[in-house]
C-alpha cells in the first residue's frame, strides 16, 4: 500500500521563519512517483550493527568518569499507520550534552563539552516495535536564526522502517518546554502534528533512584503489508 507522506502533519519545505529553508527548500512542486522496487525496499540492519553500549549514551562516551547532567530513559514504540509494530528496525539518535553543546566541530556555542559524553547512539526495535535508550537530558542552546533564538531541548532521531519511503528523520521534544512556542523548526510543523513530537513524562519508564522516564512513540508511513526487502 502506497501511503503517501501526510502533508497535513509534515512541515512544508519553505518555512521562512526558519531562515535556512529560504535558499534550500525545493521551489518547484514535487513530482509524484509510482512506487517501484526502489521505493518498496530499503536497507535492513541487524543486531550485528549494534554495539553493546550503543543504546546507552550515559556509558558509550565514557573516558574517565560519568557524564554530567540528568540521566533519562527515552523509550517507546515504533508502529505503522495501522498501529502494527515496526519490528527490528534501526533507530539512530544524536543530541547535545547537558550544557547544550554538541561535540560537533562546527558547534561554536560557548558551553562546555563533556569529555564523557558523545551524544550519539543507536538500537533496534524489538519484535513488538519497542526501543529504549539511556541518555542525559540535552540542554537548550542558542542559534543564529534570529536575535535571542534558542532551540528547545531535543533529541534527533533517524529511522528507516520497512523501505526508503518510510524513512523518517525527526526531533523529540520535552513536555512543558517554554521554548517550543518560539522555535521555528518545531513551529514549521502544522498545529495538528506538533503534539506528536513532544515526549510524555511517565513514572512507568522512570527507574527508581536512577533516571526519569520519557515515552516517545513513533508512527512511520505505510503499513507492514508493504513487501519486505527480500520479497
Amino acid at each position: 500500500m502506497e501511503n503517501k507522506r501526510d502533508w497535513s502533519v509534515h512541515p512544508p519545505y519553505l518555512h521562512p521563519g526558519y531562515k535556512s529553508t529560504v535558499l534550500r527548500a525545493p521551489s518547484k512542486p514535487l513530482i509524484p512517483i509510482k512506487h517501484t522496487l526502489s521505493e518498496r525496499t530499503g536497507p535492513v540492519y541487524g543486531l550485528d550493527t549494534i554495539g553493546a553500549l550503543d543504546n546507552d549514551l550515559t556509558k558509550n562516551g565514557i573516558k574517565n568518569g560519568e557524564p554530567l547532567g540528568e540521566r533519562i530513559v527515552v523509550a517507546g514504540r515504533v508502529i505503522d499507520e495501522l498501529g502494527q509494530p515496526v519490528r527490528n528496525t534501526l533507530v539512530e539518535i544524536w543530541q547535545a550534552n547537558a550544557a547544550g553543546r554538541y561535540i560537533h566541530k562546527v558547534d561554536q556555542h560557548a558551553a562546555p563539552l563533556d569529555p564523557n559524553f558523545l551524544g550519539g547512539g543507536r538500537c533496534l526495535t524489538d519484535n513488538e516495535g519497542y526501543y529504549k535508550f539511556y541518555t542525559i537530558k540535552p540542554g537548550a542552546y542558542p542559534w543564529g536564526n534570529h536575535p535571542n533564538a534558542w532551540r528547545p531541548n531535543h533529541i534527533h532521531l533517524s529511522l528507516f522502517g520497512n523501505n526508503i519511503s518510510s524513512r523518517l528523520v525527526t526531533q523529540m521534544y520535552f513536555p512543558g518546554d517554554p521554548l517550543l512556542q518560539y522555535d521555528p523548526i518545531f513551529l514549521g510543523v502544522p498545529p495538528k502534528g506538533r503534539e506528536l513530537l513532544i515526549s510524555k513524562f511517565t513514572l512507568d519508564l522512570t527507574e527508581p533512584s536512577f533516571a526519569l522516564g520519557y515515552e516517545f512513540n513513533i508512527v512511520l508511513r505505510g503499513n507492514n503489508e508493504t513487501p519486505f526487502e527480500n520479497k
Binding site: P12, P43, Y45, E81, H104, G120, L168, I185
Partner: protein
C-alpha cells in the same frame, strides 16, 4: 489510521551521530560511501557530486543517502569532509529491473530541509533505456537532465557526475515518494 510522526530537519550537527567515522568522531557508522565489497561482480563505478543552494553556494552540511535496490546496497555520506564539499559513492553499475532504466534512489537531507527530499540518479550512457523509463517519462522533458549523471573517465575509472541544485533554473527534480 494513526497520524504519521512529523519530519524535522537533520540539522547542522548530524555528523557524529550518522556519519561519525567519516567526520573523525569516536563512533562508528552503519553505512558509508562504499556500497559494495571488492568481490561484487559488475562494472565498478564512482558517483561524484556537489549540492548547491538557491544562490549557487556550495552546501557543506548536506547528507546524501543512496539506495541501490538491485543489489540491496545502501550508502551515506556528508558533504562536510571533502575539500570541495563533494559527496562520492563507489558501487557497481545498477542493473535494469522491472523494465526500468538503471538508477539509484537518493535521499537528500540538510539543515534547512524540514523534510528530506527524494530524487533519482540515472546514467548518461543509458540513453535507450532512459527513453523508455516510466519515471523519467513522468518528468517534464526540459527537467529530465537534472536526473542524469554524466559519465566521465577519470584516472582510469568510470566516474559519473551528479550535482544537486535545491532551487533555480537547474533545480533537481524531487519526487513525492
Amino acid at each position: 489510521m494513526a497520524l504519521q510522526t512529523p519530519s524535522q530537519t537533520v540539522g547542522p550537527y548530524f555528523a557524529y551521530g550518522l556519519t561519525a567515522a567519516q567526520y573523525g568522531y569516536d563512533f562508528d557508522q552503519i553505512a558509508n560511501d562504499v556500497l559494495v565489497g571488492d568481490d561484487m561482480p559488475g562494472d565498478r563505478i564512482h558517483i561524484v557530486g556537489r549540492v548547491f543552494d538557491g544562490e549557487n553556494n556550495l552546501i557543506p552540511d548536506a547528507m546524501i543517502e543512496v539506495w541501490q535496490s538491485d543489489i540491496k546496497a545502501f550508502g551515506r555520506m556528508g558533504t562536510g569532509t571533502d575539500p570541495k564539499n563533494r559527496f562520492h559513492f563507489e558501487t557497481v553499475k545498477p542493473q535494469s529491473l522491472d523494465g526500468q532504466a538503471p538508477h539509484l534512489a537518493i535521499i537528500v537531507l540538510m539543515r534547512g530541509l524540514l523534510v528530506h527530499a527524494y530524487s533519482r540518479i540515472y546514467f548518461s550512457d543509458e540513453a535507450a533505456t532512459n527513453a523508455q523509463d516510466v519515471v523519467l517519462n513522468s518528468v517534464p522533458q526540459e527537467r529530465r537532465h537534472t536526473l542524469i549523471a554524466q559519465r566521465h573517465q577519470v584516472n582510469g575509472h568510470t566516474e559519473y557526475h551528479f550535482d544537486i541544485y535545491m532551487q533555480g533554473e537547474l533545480e533537481t527534480v524531487f519526487f513525492d515518494v
